[in-house]
Amino acid sequence: MKLLTITTRYFLLLLLGLLIPWTIWFYGSIRYIIYHQVDEFLANRKFEITRETTQHPSLLRTLPGYKTDFTWQPITAEQMRTLRETYSDTMVWEPLEGEKEPYRKLETPFESGGKYFKLTILASLTDTQKLLSTLLRHVVTLFVVLFILLVLLNRVILRRLWRPFHAALAQIRTYRLDRHVAIEFEQTSVLEFGELHAAFSQLISHTQQAYQQQKEFTENASHEIQTPLAIARNQVELLSQDAELSTSQAQRLDSIEKNLSRMARLNKSLLLLAKIENNQFPETKPLELPKLIQTVVEQLDEMIEYKNLRVSVENAGEPLIRMNPDLAEVFFGNLVRNAVFHNIPGGYIRIELDQQGVLFENSGPELTEVPANLFGRFVKNAKASSSQGLGLSLVQSISKLYGFSVEYTHQQGTHRLSVTF
């Protein structure tokens, strides 16, 4: 949930929690004051009426029984004892309006000329009700306006206040370590955002530095290892030119030379693996797979001929994906090479292309390795002893980078490796 929504929600809850009791209290107290005043008026009327009728009991006979705000009726002595003075709300039929109107009613017993009466005095509450409802309406209107203002405040003002935060977020979201584009945060007068920007800038510069160092380490490691390897290899080469060399010495040199080459290739592959895992191949191009497969197969033409392999490529559609061209060459090159070199003389290779993926099927010797381990580093088939064992590991790294899935199955000398884009 958005922070903005949460704060708005809390504000509204707080406002409701505060305003509802307040409204009740406000309504109650206004009503109380008004009723108090009406009741006082009724008490005064009672005082006047009882005073007049006590002094002049004849009034009770001459006074008209209607169109006045009070009526009376005789009661028994028994009733006189039990009747208490009560104030109550009542509805009275108003013929003019054609409806019942609210009234305040005072019922009280009184004595006049030795007789007992029940006096009922009425006071109209219509104005009071109108006043109260008007007040209530205004209060509610005020609240609604307050609500709307609050929501607007949150939506507009807070949104504007939070803008630098969202801008920074968007910048960080699109930021890529390997693109070397520095982040410039916009100036803000908000202290917290300023601190956030500073913290982000620091984090980015530290990460960039670490990334750079790692990159440099990879390159330095390469440089440091390649140079002694080159020197050793060149020394072997110079030594091999010596005409005085004996056969056994030449064979030792041969072994040194082969192992140096193996080391050089391992180093190269490990570096490539490290670079792939560090995502150092950011730029991509649309993959032209049939062309690439053709090129790779052509590079191995003589070997294919030498091993007497039948190669068939079935092209049922071209995938629309983007890949780094160098990695694509390593990826498909390794897969084709794998199919060629781990094949039997007179065998076959079938490559099936479609929009979703590629299938490499080839004949080959029975595998001694568990397929799950096939993509691990330094796993190799015992028969191909000089193989570097990193080829399929490279394939695995590249497929991970691009989100391809690679599946391998083998069954009685048929090896199937399928890549799904």
């Binding site: 390159e219 390469s222 440089h223 390649q226 140079t227 390897l229 080159a230 020197i231 050793a232 290899r233 060149n234 020394q235 072997v236 080469e237 110079l238 091999s240 030119q241 060399l245 056969t247 030449a250 064979q251 040199l253 041969d254 030379e257 082969k258 140096l260 080459s261 193996r262 050089a264 290739r265 190269k268 570096l271 590079q299 191995l300 033409d301 003589e302 070997m303 030498y306 091993k307 160098d326 090159g333 090479r337 070199f341 028969k383 191909a384 002893s385 000089s386 193989s387 570097q388």
Partner: protein, 272 residues
């Protein structure tokens, strides 16, 4: 003169002063062999002049030893400043350039060289083998790029190919006895008649001819024709069959060159 040097009466200081090839202090400092200096001394301006820019002294000495033996005049520079100075003062046919130098980026040397519109060939020798360097180097005007660790025979073949390209505009021939190789047409003629070779056999022959009279290891041959694929078990068997075919074809055509097997180590092309 050669004999007198071989007898040991060779004055290192005098020689280097006369020929201005390798200053005595550098020769001494980096223990350049007398044999090497001999070839410097013997060389005159009609020989190919190569400047090797490399900060690793052992690397430098093996490269110069190999090229001196092949009859090139080698000069060396171990620092950026030194290389810059030499390139400004002298004319070279080819520069072998390690771009990671302690006091500067070798790529700037290529830029400076190309700005002067010289025809000097440039081959970058790099331990980085990073794509950026390769592309930058070639864009700036390097002619080739060879990642370390390389075989000296491979470097030699690249230098020769580059020299042929620069000096003969690509249409050129190599003649060795009765064998003529037409580089532009990718054809081999033995006493005038064409020898049918496969692509790999042709590449092998050219590599052998570039490094004639030298022992080429099986690894360097496999790497030359297979590149990245040379690590596979089959590649040596394949190489063996290719060399066998090439030898048979050459002898059947009556070529005056033969490829000899050298122990278990490799092969060597010799003129009969």
């Amino acid at each position: 003169m050669n004999e007198c040097i071989l007898e040991g009466s060779f004055n290192l200081r005098l020689l280097s002063e006369v020929h201005c090839c390798v200053p005595a202090r550098i020769a001494k400092k980096y223990q350049l062999s007398t044999e090497l200096l001999l070839s410097f001394a013997a060389s005159r301006s009609d020989k190919m002049k190569i400047l090797v820019v490399e900060d690793e002294s052992e690397m430098l000495s093996s490269i110069t030893a190999y090229f001196a033996k092949a009859g090139y005049v080698c000069e060396i520079a171990m620092r950026y400043a030194e290389a810059e100075e030499k390139l400004a003062l002298y004319q070279y046919d080819c520069v072998l350039l390690d771009i990671t130098l302690p006091d500067g980026n070798g790529l700037h040397l290529i830029e400076a060289l190309r700005n002067r519109k010289t025809s000097t060939g440039v081959i970058i020798l790099s331990a980085k083998n990073s794509l950026d360097d390769r592309i930058n180097g070639l864009v700036l005007g390097a002619d080739d790029y060879l990642p370390k660790p390389f075989h000296l025979s491979e470097l030699n073949a690249r230098v020769q190919a580059l020299m042929r390209r620069l000096q003969f505009d690509g249409s050129n021939q190599i003649t060795l006895g009765n064998v003529v190789i037409d580089i532009a047409a990718r054809q081999v003629l033995v006493t005038g008649s064409q020898l049918e070779l496969t692509k790999k056999e042709y590449e092998l022959l050219l590599f052998f001819i570039s490094n004639q009279d030298r022992v080429l290891s099986k690894t360097s041959l496999a790497e030359h024709i297979w590149g990245d694929n040379s690590d596979q078990a089959d590649s040596f068997d394949f190489l063996y069959s290719q060399v066998k075919n090439l030898r048979r074809k050459l002898s059947e055509a009556g070529a005056a060159i033969t490829i000899q097997a050298v122990y278990g180590f490799g092969y060597k092309l010799v003129k009969e």
